[in-house]
């Protein structure tokens, strides 16, 4: 694989994402919401006398879990499908490049665009929180890193949907469906399983990891607070069984596995795709 070609395609994808404005609008919306959430969290803290950053972080974490997949899934979903429809992808693949170079270049560009969006959002929140004081930089950075990992997984899922769906409208529909599944339906599924199958704590922990959102939530919660109850009963059980460092490792490995499996499946499908 020629890195110069990958870099060229990556830079083009970033320019294209900025021009299509989805990532830019998403970044600005995320920045606004992050500042609003931070402001509300800190106001409440002053009134009720609780730890300001804990409240703010918890609110920011919930925003991240809702918003990051909403930003990254459509970004990935429209990338390949849109260019399949307008012929750009055929034109690129017809040049003296390998399909792997095209895929990796585009994926890297999408990840870079997603990273820039999150940097803008978290940057605004960080400036606002920094100006108000009472910020744990380490906890904030860990949460931002967790959000980035979730963004990477969501982008990879979006790309997979994009290649399978082949058209922009179908890919966007699939992306919205995936978002609903990850954000809402998976939790209901876990609850239903717990209620009907009488799963033990270990099994429930395993089932929770199937959803990358849950893995991100636990990973971020681990860094935000020393109080175990923020992890929920399954998280508390996992900390007691594995310890904090090992649990963090398991959660990071889960997110990495999600990224690897979805990206390599997408690459494998793209290699076999007929660009008609």
């Amino acid at each position: 694989m020629r890195l110069a070609i990958v870099g060229l395609l990556c830079a083009r994808e970033v320019r294209s994402s900025v021009r299509h404005r989805w990532s830019l609008v998403g970044a600005l919306a995320f920045a606004l919401l992050a500042v609003a959430v931070a402001h509300l969290g800190m106001s409440g803290a002053a009134q009720w006398g609780v730890s300001a950053f804990d409240r703010t972080s918890a609110a920011l974490l919930n925003l991240v879990l809702l918003f990051v997949p909403l930003l990254a899934l459509p970004l990935g979903a429209t990338s390949f499908s849109g260019e399949m429809e307008d012929g750009t992808l055929s034109y690129l693949v017809a040049q003296p490049l390998t399909r792997a170079e095209v895929f990796v270049g585009k994926l890297c560009g999408l990840l870079a665009a997603m990273t820039l969006s999150l940097l803008l959002g978290f940057g605004c929140a960080a400036i606002f929180l920094g100006a108000r004081g009472d910020v744990s930089i380490q906890a904030f950075a860990t949460m931002a890193a967790g959000a980035w990992l979730l963004g990477v997984v969501s982008t990879a899922i979006g790309v997979l949907l994009s290649i399978v769906a082949r058209t922009r409208s179908r890919a966007l529909t699939a992306a919205v469906g995936a978002w609903l599944l990850l954000v809402f339906l998976c939790d209901f599924g876990v609850l239903a399983l717990a209620a009907t199958q009488a799963l033990g704590a270990n099994a429930l922990f395993g089932v929770s990891l199937v959803n990358p959102l849950q893995a991100t939530k636990m990973l971020s919660a681990l860094s935000i607070s020393d109080r175990l109850e923020v992890l929920g009963p399954v998280g508390v059980h996992a900390v007691r069984e594995l310890g904090r460092p090992a649990l963090a490792g398991v959660l990071c490995a889960t997110l990495a596995a999600w990224t690897l499996v979805t990206s390599s499946t997408a690459l494998s499908l793209f290699r076999r795709e007929n660009l008609t």
Binding site: L8, R12, Y91, V93, P96, L275
Partner: protein, 234 residues
């Protein structure tokens, strides 16, 4: 220059191409003709590595299955509808030049050749269809590939655009460039091709050289037919 043997493509449970054999000599200009769905575009796409197929394809002695990048380096591709997302004509050509490993120093001369020098820094989205197609031709010529693959190059152009593009392509043919094009336009085929390959339901039905005069050429019958329909001279 191009050697295709036993090419077959099956898409959505339908045979698009069935056992196609085709040879194109160096410097030859060949037109693929046939009804919609005959397999013209699919054949070109197989050559460019865009569609999975069985059978063998080689260009300049390089086997597509073994070295797709090497084959694609020999080919300049001009799609029916150009797809440039770069801001300006020059930026679009710079991007393609870097992808093809061609020198960006070629760009001013190519823009001049296709008559777009004055528009080098204009946004491509503001170009007319004819200008986009000429830009696409300039991109196809980057790196001076020995073979041009053209998929219905004038299909979306008005008469003026067709005339200008056919003039440019004619220069390339006279200069000895190998040309493989698919087309529905009899005038374009008459102007550019020295041989026509008729595809019918995914098979080569006929391959024949066009004489210096086109009288009585069955594949060019549409010209006469259109003239008759329009009430002009047959």
């Amino acid at each position: 220059m191009i050697r295709i043997r036993g090419l077959a493509v099956r898409l959505s449970s339908r045979d698009i191409l069935q056992g196609v054999d085709l040879d194109v000599a160096r410097g030859e200009s060949v037109a693929l003709v046939g009804a919609n769905g005959a397999g013209k575009t699919t054949l070109l796409r197989c050559l460019l590595g865009l569609v999975r197929h069985t059978g063998s394809i080689s260009v300049g002695g390089i086997d597509l299955a073994r070295d797709a990048v090497g084959v694609k380096r020999q080919l300049g591709y001009m799609p029916q509808v150009p797809a440039f997302c770069e801001e300006s004509a020059r930026a679009a050509l710079t991007f393609v030049a870097k992808l093809r490993g061609a020198s960006v120093d070629e760009i001013p001369a190519l823009l001049e050749r296709v008559g777009l020098s004055a528009h080098a820094h204009r946004p491509v989205r503001a170009f007319s269809a004819g200008m986009k197609q000429r830009l696409s031709l300039a991109a196809a010529l980057l790196g001076d590939p020995p073979v041009l693959v053209l998929d219905e190059p004038t299909a979306s152009l008005d008469v003026e655009g067709q005339t200008e593009l056919v003039r440019l392509l004619g220069e390339l043919v006279r200069g000895g460039r190998t040309l493989l094009l698919s087309s529905h336009r009899a005038e374009e085929i008459a102007a550019l091709a020295r041989r026509v390959v008729v595809l019918h339901e995914g098979r080569v039905k006929e391959s024949r050289t066009i004489g210096s005069t086109y009288e009585g050429e069955p594949v060019l019958a549409p010209v006469s037919r259109l003239r008759r329909v329009a009430g002009g001279a047959a």
